[in-house]
Assembly symmetry: C2
Homo-oligomer: 666 residues x 2
């Protein structure tokens, strides 16, 4: 028995392209055949062609291109670019470096796996340069094997505080490289217990080996760092970033770390957040903390990624002036320009915490002189725990396409994180990942679409959610047209359906505290987390306008004016920005309360339809896949029903306004 699924690299036999003679000969240019990445690319190509088409290609290697030292994100993009062209002699893949060749190989294999005709696909020379320099996964794996917000088993990196390297490690690298990921943070941002010792001799050998494996697939190794390492493992009594003893300890430590793990590319740091230590403890700024570390790792061409998830997690629910949504902006904007050029700020897509619907963080489009990276979450923490199906790529597309009005052109989030808008030295996109040691990696097979899709979208932000979903289904589930249509009919609307049966109109939360799965309308209402809906018998929502917390004004115009005005604000965000009476009429023509009722009944009903669609696939897809998803739909329907009935009952009991359609509310 296989211990893990091969997912989109299953390379099952294909019908088309079997007679394509061009596939018998490949020329690689850009790196010679001795490069470990090129070797892996060649092996992958041979394996894929043999399995899918029974072709054993000859590969000719060209010269190595002049190796550019990477000094910024543009260099990275250039080195990862690839071109594919056909000639009478065969297929020609040219890479900006070995990594480019690898991506080109995966492009060809994907084309074959999707049963597209090679000669048509590459009739014109195809050149692709990745949209983002950094395309990163953040693992929240703990060294005891648990995964914070993990919904697909335990860690495959760690067992009992030891690093495990096996067949799965390599297959993981193949899977994520195949969709274009080039950076992985291998441990939880909440660094504690054994993870504090990752930068000690105890783990160096294994980390060096892991880094080598990753490097062979063009993937940079990153680690989360405990900001207070000087205290926790260094024996100092301070972590003050301006303290000479602290700086000196880090210099020595980093020299050791980079000499022992030569492939290491940098660190991710969560400081001063949710109880984690940080520079605020010492009266220093976030920039002081980040720059201190960045200056030291600069000698090793490494970077410091600094999370902007800093807010007061001990807020008083009685206090309506403090606004958690403002926290990231208020904490990080004043120092725009102060961060050194190998620091990247990693910014969550929304100002809160990965809710099913949030406005885009105003830091994106606010910061103009700081390297930036967008953080999204494919671990379905608030979006159904990989029980409920929730294809997130449409959400990410909206975020990337959001016009920030930070400049006259090239002002979308995609533009900013590509590095184009501000000519940033480094930039990119990271996802908190959704993997674990479950056989199928992601718990629900359909959740694999988010892992696949994140990588593909990060590499090419122009791809549509539909294209990506189609590739995923064809490669992972089935290329039968009827199956494809059915699964697309499940994946594509799933995020809006999840939204409809959960928290309405952008207000977010209403989840069970701690687990974040299941409904509890008041679950966080009287708690310390700054996450309130402020519903009373007359209305609901948070006033974040100029008359409220002022958050809406943190956006550039015209966004600020749009969000600040309940008549202009898009319906889907209106309760995020405004406290409105239940009788307020939305752009949709419905009142707020009727929208709540309608969307919840519809959402639950649509969830049932999704489940029914899946049932039609019995016997048409792999039995393991069918049962896995079927069982999760069973649980999703229980969840959706609870959400629907609890939300509707809560607001009916509170408002006293009946459903226009007289449906059953409790």
């Amino acid at each position: 028995m296989k211990d893990h699924a091969k997912l989109w690299l299953a390379y099952t036999p294909k019908k088309n392209n079997r007679e394509c003679a061009l596939l018998s000969k490949f020329s690689f240019a850009g790196a010679d055949g001795t490069d470990s990445i090129v070797k892996n690319a060649a092996a992958e190509l041979k394996c894929g062609l043999k399995s899918m088409l029974d072709i054993e290609p000859e590969i000719v290697y060209g010269d190595t291109a002049a190796q550019i030292k990477i000094s910024n994100g543009k260099d990275m993009q250039a080195r990862e670019e690839y071109s594919i062209s056909l000639s009478g002699e065969g297929v020609f893949i040219e890479g900006g470096s070995a990594a480019g060749i690898l991506y080109g190989v995966f492009d060809i294999l994907r084309t074959i796996a999707c049963e597209k005709n090679i000669e048509e696909a590459y009739k014109a020379k195809k050149t692709v340069r990745p949209s983002n320099p950094l395309r990163m996964l953040n693992h929240w794996d703990n060294m005891d094997g648990s995964i914070e917000r993990g919904y697909s088993g335990e860690s495959f990196f760690y067992v009992n505080n030891e690093i495990v390297i096996d067949e799965r490690t390599k297959d993981y690298a193949r899977l994520i490289a195949s969709v274009g990921i080039n950076a992985v943070v291998i441990n939880n941002v909440n660094v504690k217990d054994a993870a504090s010792y990752m930068i000690t001799d105890r783990y160096f050998d294994k980390l060096a080996l892991l880094g080598e494996i990753f490097a062979g697939y063009g993937i940079g190794l990153y680690m989360s760092l405990n900001y207070a390492s000087t205290i926790e493992i260094g024996g100092l009594d301070s972590a003050d970033p301006l303290d000479e003893k602290v700086i000196s300890w880090w210099k020595t430590k980093m020299a050791e770390v980079f000499s022992r793990i030569p492939t290491l590319k940098g660190f991710l740091v969560k400081a001063d957040s949710e109880g984690r230590p940080g520079p605020f403890t010492y009266g220093r700024t976030q920039a002081d903390g980040a720059n201190m570390l960045a200056d030291i790792v600069k000698d090793y061409n490494a970077i410091i990624i600094w999370r902007c998830f800093v807010y007061n997690c001990r807020q008083d629910w009685r206090d309506r002036k403090t606004d958690r949504a403002r926290a990231g902006y208020d904490n990080f904007m004043p120092m725009d320009g102060d961060y050194h050029d190998n620091v990247i700020l990693q910014i969550k897509n929304g100002p809160m915490d990965f809710q099913i619907r949030e406005p885009v963080s105003p830091l994106l489009g606010g910061l103009k002189k700081t390297n930036q990276m967008l953080e999204v979450q494919i671990a379905q923490e608030y979006t159904g725990h990989q029980i409920d199906v929730c294809y997130l790529i449409p959400d990410f597309k909206e975020i990337l396409g959001f016009k920030t009005y930070c400049s006259e052109s090239n002002d979308t989030v995609a533009d900013i994180i590509s590095g184009d808008t501000f000519n940033s030295r480094f930039s990119g996109i990271a996802a908190v990942t959704n993997t674990g040691n479950d056989f199928n990696w992601t718990g629900n097979y359909l959740a694999g679409a988010n892992l696949f899709g994140f990588g593909r979208l990060a590499f090419d932000t122009e791809l549509s959610a539909e294209q990506i979903a189609e590739e995923f289904v064809r490669m992972t589930i089935s290329d039968d047209e009827e199956v494809l249509a059915t699964v697309l009919g499940i994946l594509l609307p799933s995020r809006e359906i999840y939204e409809r049966y959960t928290s309405p109109l952008g207000i977010g939360w209403m989840v069970q505290p701690a687990t974040h799965y299941g409904c509890s309308v008041d679950g966080y209402e009287y708690d310390r987390w700054g996450t309130y809906h402020r519903a009373d018998h007359l209305g609901i929502g948070v006033d974040r306008t100029d008359k409220g917390t002022g958050y809406a004004l943190l956006y550039n115009e015209p966004n600020a004016s749009v969000y600040n005005d309940p008549e202009k604000c898009p319906d889907e965000l209106v309760l995020f920005f405004h406290h409105l009476p239940y009788t307020h009429v939305l752009h949709s023509g419905k009142t707020v309360i009727q929208h709540i009722y309608d969307s919840h009944f519809e959402g639950y009903d649509e969830a049932k339809q999704l489940a029914a669609k899946w049932e039609t696939l019995k016997g048409k897809v792999d039995e393991d896949i069918f049962e896995n998803v079927r069982e999760r739909f069973e649980r999703q329907l229980v969840n959706a029903r609870e959400w629907c009935d609890q939300v509707n009952s809560y607001f009916y009991r509170k408002s006293g306004i009946p459903d226009e359609k007289g449906r059953e509310i409790y």
Copy 2:
């Protein structure tokens, strides 16, 4: 350093009675000096007199009274009776048996510890017969050392699945015997893991030794039993009480158990409750299950105590017909008379689960042909976790004094559980206990009053809450009159204060799920536990009248009519029985909503006053005691404030009705 406090057996030097010559000579009658209980009584007397008064008494032993074999509760009471009289020669203690002598000794030591004059106290011969045959503590200790609903450390019976017997074991026996406890169930009613093996060779030797120690203080050893032992440790595939293989297994097992633990008195069983196995699994009645076991243990003069806490814990919150409050009655009344005469049904005081205010269970006064025992809880699960001070004896007094109208006279709960009303063969009272291995046994020193008070009240239900509190304070904290007045001023109103700042008017719950500490008004509202307040924008409460679930009619008249009518129902229970508009006027003259506001503001305010009173004791009581209680008051005030503000805000937001007094609501 002492590893545990001596509490009310501290025997500190006393001022009074030092010149009392009578205390130099004691005569014990009823058992001779070779009896282990008498030996312990003599040792206790000598130790107490020496420590408190520097007196070393001579003790003369009389003949052993004719030993009556105990065949019912009346025999037990007779054997535990004691008389104390004075003559020119000294103090004469006559016991119905050795246990009576022990209780007599503790009576005298208590009198001295409370600085009461011996010659006055016993001027007239004092004869005391315990009110209840069984006066029991139920430990919810697990063998891994954890305690379910324990708020004062870990178990002192178990460490790492082993039974620990040390100095503390004996001091525990002394402490509880001194207040009249004569039965202890030493393990959690939820029997699982290692506890399933308590009836195997693995633990017999230690249990025999523990039973011996208890027996030396007149305490019977009881164990909780896993109803499914035949499956879990017996290797059978059934626990059907009518299955011959099951019966045969139990016969063999019980013969082994009682031969190895000769002092064992019986078992407590939680069956068919909250996921525990039971006879319902096999389509049998609760009586079938209990009787099967009872018939087998009868040969060893042992009893089966069967808990009536059987209800549907997977209820649908949408369902307003099912009423958890009815469950005990509906499950157990139909078989009244079917239970064999060495079965006792153990009935929680209220129909729900130890809320701060509940009506008395209608099984008490309903069952007429069944042995009954009342179950209360001194572990402060719903009453403040031994952080908040909550002296429960006033609550227990109300319960015991409740007239059930089950007969023309002798119809109170106290009458029923004494065995008088129905001439029951066995009866009594049990408390889920509040102890752990904290230095002071009960977390908060003031929670010791509930352990002390439960024993005292179980022994003599005529004692008042005030008398008991005074004894506790004098013996445990200080006999200084000012300190006494202050601590009484804290203890006596504490339960009503706790009630005022938590859930109002008998509705109960509104607690944080799982932990049961802290406020969450909707915490259980949309959950499966059958514990709802049904609040909407117009009103609150559960309709348990003839027009609702009919629960009110389960009581004898006139209770049924009183509870069924909102105009007659006592205010403190009115929302338990009725769904009422917020504008309904209570007997107090206040509306429901104004009562909610007033009681919560008052309760929080009064909690602050309690804390302030305690502050005045700095320097006047032991520093350890002072700091222990002070620190808990700090936490109580945080808790009380949250309750006050959350409940008021919740109902203001829901009802839209402002506080008449315009106080701040959020």
